[in-house]
Symmetry: C2
Subunit: 226 residues, 2 copies
DNA sequence: CGTGGCCTTGATAAAGTTCAAGAGCCGTGG
DNA sequence: CCACGGCTCTTGAACTTTATCAAGGCCACG
């Protein structure tokens, strides 16, 4: 019960007529994944895509020697795994539940059929993919053009912005995961957090980080040094 | 003369009825850019997108201290600059003509209008954006998980595949640009090309690169060392 | 023939990774 | 209630990779 309501709250489906929401409810598959469970792996055939209803999902790549790069972390309401739906190929990366997740799975054919009949659904999906391209652009910029302190500063400011400018942040992921998100390793992240504390930019206590000098962080994010 | 034919050959518009091709021809703006000319800059408002008809276009990011990361190089037939069309924001990166280019510009509103009436156009665009996401995934993987020799090996194999397995490659861009594409600098690229020659993997002569040991390159691309 | 662009090479320095060890934390079970 | 094992995080030292700085070579074009 409540599937239609759940679907209606997904931004991707905003503005859809009730009739189409019902159609979606007919084709959706409700799935639950446990923390640490693999949702799909790079190279698997993708016969549809997912929307997170509860929980948190990471999309990541692995190098042969075990280093992980997180590409994205999806929260409730966000769709993922759409790429093969439209290219007809395999998933380009892996997906894993970071905690217990409830996911809605939308099979490819039914969804494409629906898109053909509903331009606003197509435009919603185009907007989502475009936003994702924008994020990837930033990720590439960070990885290639900034060094780790700059990436970390940018991430902290991003968190602060998301929390309406809050100075007191609390990491919702472990520092190890944060390292993987920033394209580095826990040791390096740890050292840089220490250095930034020493310079009076931030204050850390476990998963809590207090921003002491937002301007200093901005300079760091922009220029790569203080 | 010829505009409709040009438009009809663009993969994005494949399968469109003639009537819609004519509509497109009505809204398109034909533009020419000289080598080195800026097409748009990061932060500019995007009121439409481009399709390359002739020439070559690079999409890139710059760091404050001048290092460049090429995100993409577009050849004739490929659309670019679509992100702001669907998110309503600014261009996330810069675009510059690498040689004299003829571009078709499609204004946003007319195009969105057309998409609403034509699901197959929407699906074509979704496929293109999805492919681009896939490419970005590979770029991130390369930048974060591989070191420069691995990236170079992967790029050479990609060129070889594109040329139906050809062993004799010819770079269509300068080595400096290749360095920027691989997320490094010309000096480093030069050294690594030298090292790879010394190991008998390739043979270089100016812009020509001959692949001597494809298996060796695959190992390098996969594992980061021979 | 000189000038500017592009590429190469060498010496040096910086940033990040690896390896190793240890500290803090927490849930489980004796 | 406390001890143990596992996990995350931190710190140190050596090492690797890459960037930086500087200089010189090659080549096309005027």
């Amino acid at each position: 019960m409540g599937i239609i309501q759940d679907i209606a709250t997904i931004p991707l489906f905003r503005g859809l007529p009730d009739k189409h929401l019902e159609d979606l409810a007919m084709i959706v598959v409700d799935q639950v994944f446990q923390r640490g469970q693999v949702i799909f792996s790079e190279g698997d055939d993708g016969n549809g895509f997912f929307v997170a209803i509860t929980g948190r999902v990471k999309i990541y790549k692995m190098s042969p020697d075990g280093k992980e790069q997180i590409l994205h972390i999806f929260e409730p309401g966000e769709p993922f795994g759409e790429v093969p739906v439209f290219t007809g190929q395999q998933f380009p990366a892996n997906a894993e539940a970071m905690k217990e997740c409830r996911l809605y799975f939308f099979p490819r054919d039914s969804f494409v059929h629906l898109i053909k009949k509903n331009p606003s659904l197509a435009l919603n999906m185009l907007a989502i993919l475009s936003k994702r391209l924008r994020r990837f652009t930033m990720l590439v910029e960070n990885l290639s053009l900034k060094e780790v302190p700059g990436r970390l500063a940018a991430y902290l400011l991003y968190l602060s912005d998301k929390g309406e400018g809050a100075r007191d942040l609390e990491l919702s992921i472990t520092k190890g995961q944060l390292a993987s998100l920033l394209g580095t390793i826990p040791e390096t992240l740890s050292r840089i957090l220490g250095k930034m504390s020493g310079q009076g930019l931030i204050e850390t206590e476990g998963p809590k980080i207090k921003i002491l000098d937002p301007r200093g962080l901005e300079d760091l994010a922009e220029w790569g040094h203080l």
